[in-house]
Amino acid sequence: MGALASRYSHGAGAPKGRSRGRAAPSCGAQLVCARAADEETAIETGSAGFNDPTGDNLLRTVQLPMKVAALAVACGLTRSVVIQVGNGNGGDLRFIDPDSGQLMDNNHDISHRPAPTTRVAL
């Protein structure tokens, strides 16, 4: 769903604001994960085989690799990043209707009639 690319070969940017760090890439920035230790553990635990069918949870979660992607390009570790959110037709994801707060049909079924076996006979 998202892609990021830069003309610059490496070390292009310096992050705004404060930073504290664990790693020091070529740009010299001090980097750190700002989450609390228990949050880091939760992320690391949940990252393997992450498969949450609730689209809203997925979108919240994918914000983290987006930040990492921006950092990686800024520091010259890579020049391009592709992030795919969901699969081809979005058939596995269900999003919350922001108006009703209820889960909608899965993204694929929104504009396709469900297969006959799943339809309610009248």
Partner: protein, 595 residues
């Protein structure tokens, strides 16, 4: 389609749009040494893998792009994949409407990011080889030239020099949030053209043009034409002008929208320009146009002419002959005074020439001018060359010829390399009737024999083809004969004893289609040849956009030959028209005395 599914998908799209914004904020949070942000230096893209709901269309998948690739990608543009069908649908089109926009988008993005082919040329061949390649000229920078930026060797050079701050698209870079956050003093206000486009879309969303197209396409086209005119007449094309072009009809059509609203959103200058272009409810149309002719400022005149140019380009789509006649008459009676009344003399001449060119083109398209009457011995304007290669299909060739003729090409040329004589003959026989119908001569490159057999309108000979003096007696009276030259001596030989009607001279600029085959001549040598030649001079080589077309007109050329500028354009008809308007405007501005 399940009723209401569009509303539900819109809600999901909203989720993804917010996520994309998160990516943009993350990228814009990094500063570069030149003061711009990482978002300015790169490209962020948000896209689906298919489109149009149940149709699963892969031809016109929507993309949202943000970031300027360091000035290598133009901002604030909207590109339509292909024209809509009459019923508004966007799938199930004929093969002639090939899905070329997305491959070209990939080419454009790769090129903007500095990727080049092994031979150093821009990436222009992404995807299947049978698809026509090329770039999306509307996204390439140098507003509004569509030129590629010069290759920049390394970021370190970039940071050291002042180039990054002086790039033409600098002020257009999309980074409003970054600017707002950083709060740096001294940064001038940047008009967010995407907001102007969004307002135009909102106001006109329920409206259609007379011929059925979505109305919002009109202000977008006016913006493009205004940019072309500005470039041709060597005037700056500011964001204020671009925004006013997009918004020029919103005060008339927006329910309750006031000038003060525009002033608050886009600044006083945009509001002032739009107000000049808006007809008050208590004023009739002739009165409004006369008032604009006497009171309008130069920018408002340029926008009004751009508005009329687009309407004239589409006039033939209105079937009512009387309305066509009335509109053409109004254009001469009420619009020409607006053009000629500009305070800057060169602008007045250029706008008037562009308007007259568009009126003549509209007359031809509407069939209100006899084809014989519009055919000239050696026309002036845009000379469109269509390259036929083994991997381009005949339908594409014919559609390009049709589009170029409809867009006002002065001469068309078929240039065939590596195809059979039979195929070339069949193409000529297929194309000649429609070219004749609109009075545009079709000439053949190199092949005098095939041109004779097909009854083409002329032949163009290169420096290694048959000598033109020997070919001249073979051609019927009135046939066009042209010859190529790369030096003043070669050009002189052609006009003194070549028997030709016109002399092609170039390459004037580095050519994307013929690299390294001859030394680039530059505009100064073209001007010298044009000055000395008693014959018409056709400038050729590297004329990739309206700005360069205007440059060769200023150098005195009677014709400007283009290849990729039309064949690679997302809309070849409009591209041809824009080149012709730029040529006429620059030529008109160059002339002394009234237009």
């Amino acid at each position: 389609v399940i009723p209401g599914s569009d509303v539900l998908h819109h809600k999901v799209d909203g989720h993804f749009a917010r996520l994309f914004r998160h990516l943009l904020d993350s990228v814009a949070a990094f500063d570069l040494p030149d003061g711009s942000s990482l978002l300015d230096a790169g490209i962020c893209a948000c896209f689906n893998d298919n489109a149009n709901g149940p149709q699963h269309c892969t031809w016109d998948v929507p993309w949202v792009l943000a970031g300027g690739a360091g000035g290598a990608l133009r901002q604030g543009e909207s590109v339509d994949a292909v024209p809509r069908d009459a019923d508004g649908s966007r799938c199930g089109r004929s093969p002639a409407q090939a899905p070329t926009t997305l491959p070209r988008l990939h080419n454009t993005l790769a090129t903007a990011l500095g990727v080049r082919k092994d031979n150093g040329e821009p990436i222009d061949n992404f995807d299947a080889p049978k698809l026509p390649g090329g770039l999306l000229s509307s996204l390439t920078p140098g507003a509004p030239t569509g030129r590629l930026p010069p290759e920049r060797p390394s970021h370190s050079d970039e940071w050291r020099g002042g180039e990054a701050r002086s790039r033409p698209d600098r002020a257009r870079l999309y980074s409003p949030r970054a600017d707002a956050r950083s709060g740096r003093p001294g940064r001038r206000r940047v008009i967010d053209l995407s907001k102007a486009d969004a307002l135009a879309y909102e106001v006109h969303r329920a409206q259609r043009r007379v011929h059925g197209a979505p109305y919002v396409e009109h202000p977008r086209a006016v913006r493009r034409f205004a940019a072309h005119l500005s470039a041709a007449l060597e005037r700056p094309f500011s964001d204020e002008l671009a925004a006013a072009a997009l918004l020029h009809d919103v005060l008339e059509d927006g329910d309750g929208l006031r000038r003060e609203d525009l002033e608050g959103r886009f600044g006083p200058r945009v509001a002032q320009l739009v107000a000049q272009l808006s007809r008050p409810v208590d004023e009739d149309k002739p009165g409004h146009l006369r008032r604009l002719a006497t009171e309008g400022d130069d920018d408002a005149r340029l926008l009004k002419v751009a508005d009329r140019l687009h309407n004239l380009l589409e006039l033939s789509l209105i079937l009512d002959r009387e309305r066509q006649r009335a509109y053409l008459e109004e254009s001469e009676r009420l619009l020409l005074p607006i053009a000629r009344g500009a305070r800057a003399a060169a602008l007045a001449r250029g706008l008037a020439a562009a308007l007259l060119e568009a009126i003549a083109l509209a007359r031809r398209q509407c069939g209100l001018l006899e084809a014989e009457g519009s055919m000239r011995a050696v026309p002036t304007g845009v000379y469109v060359i269509i390259d036929i290669t083994p991997d381009i299909d005949d339908e594409r060739v014919l559609s390009l010829l049709d589009a170029a003729a409809a867009g006002g090409a002065a001469v068309l040329q078929l240039r065939a390399k590596g195809i059979t004589d039979r195929r070339l003959l069949a193409l000529l026989e297929g194309a000649l009737p429609s070219c004749r119908a609109v009075g545009v001569p079709l000439v053949v490159n190199d092949r005098a024999d095939v041109a004779l057999v097909a009854g083409a309108d002329g032949v163009h000979l290169g420096t290694t083809d048959l000598p033109s003096l020997l070919v001249r007696p073979l051609l019927p009276v009135g046939a066009l004969l042209g010859g190529s030259s790369h030096t003043l001596a070669q050009a002189r030989a052609l006009w003194e004893h070549g028997g030709v009607d016109y002399v092609a001279f170039g390459p004037v600029f580095p050519s994307p289609t013929k690299q390294g085959h001859a030394e680039v001549t530059g505009e100064a040598r073209l001007a010298e040849v044009s000055k000395q030649s008693p014959l018409s001079v056709c400038a050729i080589g590297g004329i990739t956009d309206p700005a360069r077309m205007a440059a060769v007109a200023r150098a005195g050329a009677s014709l400007g030959a283009v290849v990729s500028a039309v064949a690679s354009a997302s809309d070849p008809k409009e591209a041809t028209c824009a080149l012709g308007i730029a040529f006429a405007a620059a030529r008109g501005a160059r002339m002394k005395g009234p237009s």
